[in-house]
């Protein structure tokens, strides 16, 4: 009999991929139910306007139209979209605008018709009488006196304020050799998942049940929210996240259309489908980032950073989505990065503007934090004439100091920041690269070397770190079926991350079976026990731990049963090659199937033992994991055009132990792509009047392969002590390390021009201007 290999740590191809690359996966739009109606949403062309009246008569009588609804029709019949994060002012967030529109793309009316073409024809017939109002798109201007007010009931555009004061910071500023002050911007980004949002709702009149297929990262949380908004019992609501084509945080939310389409299906007694168009996706799916940070950094002349003081202006957009005001908190808490900075303080001012709401986007607050920390290190180096490597080394938290309590009150689980930095420096051959850079400059070539040593927070986590309705625990059921195949039901809802592969690797090894003997099931609230979801790189460290807890319970039961059959103590037994064997002598074994037969059989070998092989566990972490690493980019800038050419890109990431090397590489690749895109290309642009300029992918510069470097990937391995696998999470690391790394590289190339900082995205035109201005000076 062939020996079954071990799968954990092996280069296993993703088990999800065959259906994805063969085009046979089932996304929301692939779910076809008889008699389905199509909804089309009419949206505001205005950033800010009063709605005087809406004439829907012509639309209602148009061919194929079944219903046309406006905000007035929904008043008192359905709740608003919830924001579960605490904030001083949470505006009512209607499914369709009521009285006013507050951003371009805000839903104003919905048409339901027999097909999308007729629905759109009818939507074109709706006559909305708008009274345009002054709009504000700049969050700093929104705070000024006389700014147009979005929500009159609050009297101003302030949504909420967070203040973490610390007198030690001001003391540090007073006694510092120097205080470096600067302002940096993390610009607004659009997540642009390949699959846009989409919803299909089916109301079963006879049983009073609702089934909702939606492209979401959080089917269970969404079920709770949906039931509340529609006043339905939760056990009558089933949410299915079928194949989800990317979320990046944007689908960690509950959107107007999810409630609206469900409402319509119940109202009409027929299935209703709405599929988001790309233009809608760019305008009405949550955006990320959009933070302005003013920093004061007191330093000693040797490069020691004494404290960090920050003021953030955070753009919320027009309404608060599920977690909108919670995201900036991570930027503040993580802004001291890998460094033993003794004190920090921050103020965050969160502001309403006439723009789409911001919320989680890959990294969600930590890319902003890493950008602050790593730009700070380079600013300190530039100010003091020190090598950026030296400044980082001087300030690193030493590896002996872990677990390390930061001045922000977080406890970093484990780390060895120098090891990752050293490995990256070695791969790139740093001294040689610096020499080449100096030599090139003599010939008028501008080469830049950028370093970012990042740490981020993953595996959230203790529930206390999250709002009450978004807990931090995760669930898993592991079942051994009567044929000894294994089913894993996970409460996370992967949408591209690959847990169907990693969890199968883990379960297969634990029971000594083949990976093909394991099926991983997720994303259906009627099948899977209540869970939380996939976000914040928590799938493996939190969801995986729950899987391993259930695996452990099953192993224990199987060993107990086997021990009576084999007359050996349970702790002497192990699972290998589809047998239960003596640890000391693998030849003394019985088939796993025999033990399973006993567990499911008429006669349990152990009197009183519950038949069946099924275990459910919930894991609530005691702390978060803190992956880290160092990225180094080498670029050359063409002084005539400002065009950036990539010479090297080295990423050394430490995500603890690695279960699935190919998946880790994939996550790092994608993360770096999105991070470099923030550094160089992407920006959601609203003009000063609130019009969305980047309304299509002809204007919004999502990265293409040709716009990215070749990646050289490596790892250090510092296991986390907080979970049995020793893993940390890697879903966002690439995004977090690469943005500051690339910006530092470009600005390093511009250093001979005396340039200290340019805000992202570093479009070639901005760099060309830097050369031009330097020539003038």
């Amino acid at each position: 009999m062939a020996v079954i290999p071990k799968f954990v740590g092996a280069r296993i191809k993703r088990r999800e991929d065959p259906r994805l690359i063969s085009g046979t996966a089932t996304y929301v739009d692939d779910v076809r139910l008889p008699d389905t109606l199509t909804a089309v949403v009419l949206r505001s062309p205005h950033p800010h306007a009063r709605i005087n009246s809406i004439d829907v008569a012509a639309a209602r009588s148009a061919p194929g139209v079944v219903a046309v609804l406006t905000g007035e029709d929904l008043k008192g019949k359905v709740g608003g979209i919830p924001c579960v994060a605490p904030a001083e002012h949470i505006p009512f967030h209607p499914l369709l605008a009521q009285g006013k529109v507050r951003f371009v793309g805000e839903s104003v009316a919905v048409v339901v018709a027999s097909d999308a073409y007729l629905a759109q024809d009818a939507a074109d017939l709706i006559d909305v009488d708008y009274d345009p109002l002054d709009a504000v798109s700049d969050p700093e201007k929104a705070l000024a006196d006389g700014a147009p007010i979005l929500h009159e009931e609050f009297g101003a555009n302030l949504a909420t304020r967070a203040l973490i004061p610390n007198p030690a910071v001001d003391e540090a500023i007073a006694k510092a050799d120097r205080v470096i002050k600067f302002r940096i911007v993390n610009q607004r980004l659009a997540p642009v998942p390949m699959e846009t949002r989409g919803v299909l709702a089916q109301w079963h009149q006879a049983s009073g049940q609702l089934t909702l297929w939606t492209s979401t990262q959080i089917p269970h949380l969404l079920r709770s929210a949906l039931a509340a908004v529609l006043s339905l019992p939760e056990n009558r609501v089933r949410v299915i996240a079928p194949e989800v084509g990317g979320g990046f945080g944007a689908k960690l939310n509950f959107y107007r259309e999810e409630a609206l389409v469900a409402y319509l299906s119940r109202m009409l007694g027929r299935p209703v489908k709405w599929i988001e168009r790309r233009r809608e996706n760019l305008a009405t799916t949550t955006h990320g980032r959009d933070q302005i940070t003013y920093l004061e950094v007191p330093v000693k002349n040797d490069g020691t950073v004494l404290a960090l003081k920050a003021k953030f202006i955070c753009d919320m957009g027009a309404y608060l989505q599920l977690l909108t005001p919670a995201i900036p908190g991570f930027s503040g808490l993580m802004m001291t990065g890998c460094y033993k900075i003794p004190a920090m303080s921050f103020e965050q001012v969160m502001v309403f503007t006439n723009k789409m709401a911001t919320d989680a986007y890959r990294g969600a607050g930590r890319p902003e934090a890493a950008y602050i920390a790593e730009r700070t290190m380079d600013m300190v180096a530039a100010e003091l004439g020190l090598d950026p490597v030296e400044v980082r080394r001087r300030n690193f938290i030493p590896k002996e100091a872990f677990p390390y309590a930061t001045c922000a009150g977080l406890v970093y689980d484990s780390g060895d920041y120098n090891a990752a930095l050293n490995k990256a420096l070695e791969i790139v051959d740093y001294p040689k690269m610096r020499a080449e850079q100096a030599e090139a400059l003599k010939h008028g070539r501008y080469i830049g070397i950028g370093i970012a040593s990042y740490v981020e927070i993953c595996g959230i986590g203790p529930s206390a770190m999250l709002p009450p309705k978004v807990p931090g625990w995760e669930s898993a059921t592991v079942r051994m079926e009567p044929d000894s195949r294994i089913t894993v039901l996970t409460g996370i809802s992967p949408h591209g991350q690959g847990q169907e592969t990693t969890f199968a690797q883990m379960a297969a090894d634990a029971f000594g079976v083949d990976i093909d003997d394991v099926a991983v099931v997720h994303g259906d609230t009627a099948i899977v026990q209540y869970g939380v979801g996939t976000f914040g790189s928590r799938g493996l460290s939190v969801g995986g731990t729950a899987v391993m807890m259930s695996v452990g319970k099953l192993q224990e039961k199987l060993k107990k049963i086997a021990s009576t059959m084999m007359e050996a103590p349970p702790d002497q037994l192990t699972f290998t090659n589809r047998t239960v064997a003596l640890k000391s002598d693998a030849a003394k074994a019985i088939p796993l199937q025999a033990v399973v037969d006993a567990a499911y059989g008429w006669k349990m070998p152990i009197p009183g033992m519950e038949p069946g092989l099924d275990a459910t566990s919930v894991f609530e972490p005691t702390g978060c994991t803190f992956p880290f690493g160092t990225h180094i980019a080498v670029v050359e800038i063409d002084p005539d055009t400002g065009v950036v050419t990539f010479l090297r890109y080295v990423a050394v990431d430490d995500c603890g132990n690695i279960i699935s090397p190919l998946l880790v590489a994939g996550q790092v690749h994608g993360g770096i792509a999105q991070g470099i895109a923030q550094a160089l290309y992407e920006e959601v642009v609203y003009d000063e009047n609130g019009q969305l300029v980047t309304a299509t992918l002809m204007d919004y510069a999502a990265p293409r392969a040709r716009m990215l470097p070749h990646y050289e990937l490596a790892h250090t391995v510092t296991p986390s002590p907080l979970n049995p696998m020793g893993v940390k999470g890697v879903g966002e690391a690439g995004t977090i390390g690469s943005t500051p790394c690339m910006v530092n590289a470009v600005l390093d190339a511009l250093k001979p021009l005396g340039v200290r900082h340019i805000d992202m995205p570093l479009r070639p035109e901005k760099l060309w201007r830097a050369f031009k201005d330097a020539k003038k000076a």
Partner: protein, 289 residues
């Protein structure tokens, strides 16, 4: 993204297409790839009642050599042009420009006739058609006429095509051996169109002076144009770096440059000068090789 209702007609022949054009007049749009038209229809910015698909007309898809000219059918896809042995051997500049258009999906559907007819100010082909002095054949009911590329592009998305006319062929003189060429493009980071694209063809005499130079520029202004000031400044001049650079600095003179968030008009003008200089230098290097 759902267009309003339209009727689709697949033209079987040029005559068929012209008859349909006559029948439906302004209510009809020609479909030849549709990579610009269909998105506009999906946004309902264009709402033609009739689409006349000309891409299935066999004679419009052909690439051939006749009477010393390379003749490319209007419905030849960018991919076909880029990979045609004939085009690669005798019209290398056109093959390079075709290969620089959009991405694989666009090149598999988009056509040379569609691109030239649409006359997007940032399209790649127009610069090449100008530099290669293409002759564009327009058929109408009962006749046809040939229009020189220089007379074809009139303004932003406006060409010399009259109502009832169908662009059927583009004819090019082969690039003589010993003549160098280059198409250099700065792609728009979102759309992949040319923020600036410069096509240059250069031939040198025995003393290394320009015997012939043609420079086509796309992306900079409302329409593609020949950089005649640059060509004139280099006529009969030595093909050295300084002379080329001085001449290329005139590339954007008198052009009302476009601008967007990715490239202002000022930057775009500078890119045109830099890319013209580099394209001419590259063409010269190949002419010498």
């Amino acid at each position: 993204m759902f267009p309003s209702q339209f009727e689709y007609h697949r033209a079987a022949s040029i005559k068929d297409a012209l008859d349909l054009l006559k029948q439906f007049g302004d209510d009809a749009k020609l479909l030849s790839g549709g990579h610009s038209l269909i998105p506009m229809m999906k946004l309902r910015l264009a709402q033609p009642a009739h689409l006349i698909d000309v891409t299935k007309i066999a004679e419009l898809r052909a690439i051939s050599e006749s009477h010393g000219k390379i003749v490319i059918g209007a419905a030849a896809t960018h991919d076909t042009v880029a990979n045609s042995d004939l085009v690669r051997a005798k019209l290398g500049l056109l093959a390079e420009a075709a290969a620089a258009i959009g991405d694989v999906q666009v090149r598999n559907r988009g056509t040379i006739g569609g691109s030239l007819t649409h006359a997007d100010p940032a399209a790649d082909y127009p610069a090449t058609a100008l530099a290669l002095e293409a002759e564009i054949k327009l058929d109408r009911d009962g006749g046809s006429r040939a229009v020189k590329a220089a007379d074809f592009f009139l303004d932003l998305m406006t060409t010399a095509i009259q109502p009832g006319e169908l662009l059927t062929q583009v004819a090019f003189a082969p690039i003589p051996s010993g003549t160098g060429y280059a198409y250099l493009k700065y792609p728009h980071p979102a759309s992949g169109f040319a923020i600036v694209g410069v096509a240059a063809i250069a031939a040198l005499d025995r003393s290394g002076k320009f015997a012939n130079l043609r420079v086509g520029v796309t992306g900079l202004g409302p329409k593609a144009f020949r950089a005649t000031a640059v060509e004139a400044a280099l006529a009969g001049k030595a093909a050295d770096a300084a002379t080329i650079a001085a001449a290329a600095s005139k590339t954007a003179d008198g052009v009302d440059a476009l601008g967007d968030i990715h490239a202002s008009s000022e930057y775009r003008s500078e890119l045109a000068r830099v890319y013209a200089r580099r394209a001419i230098q590259a063409a010269v290097a190949r002419a010498k090789a």
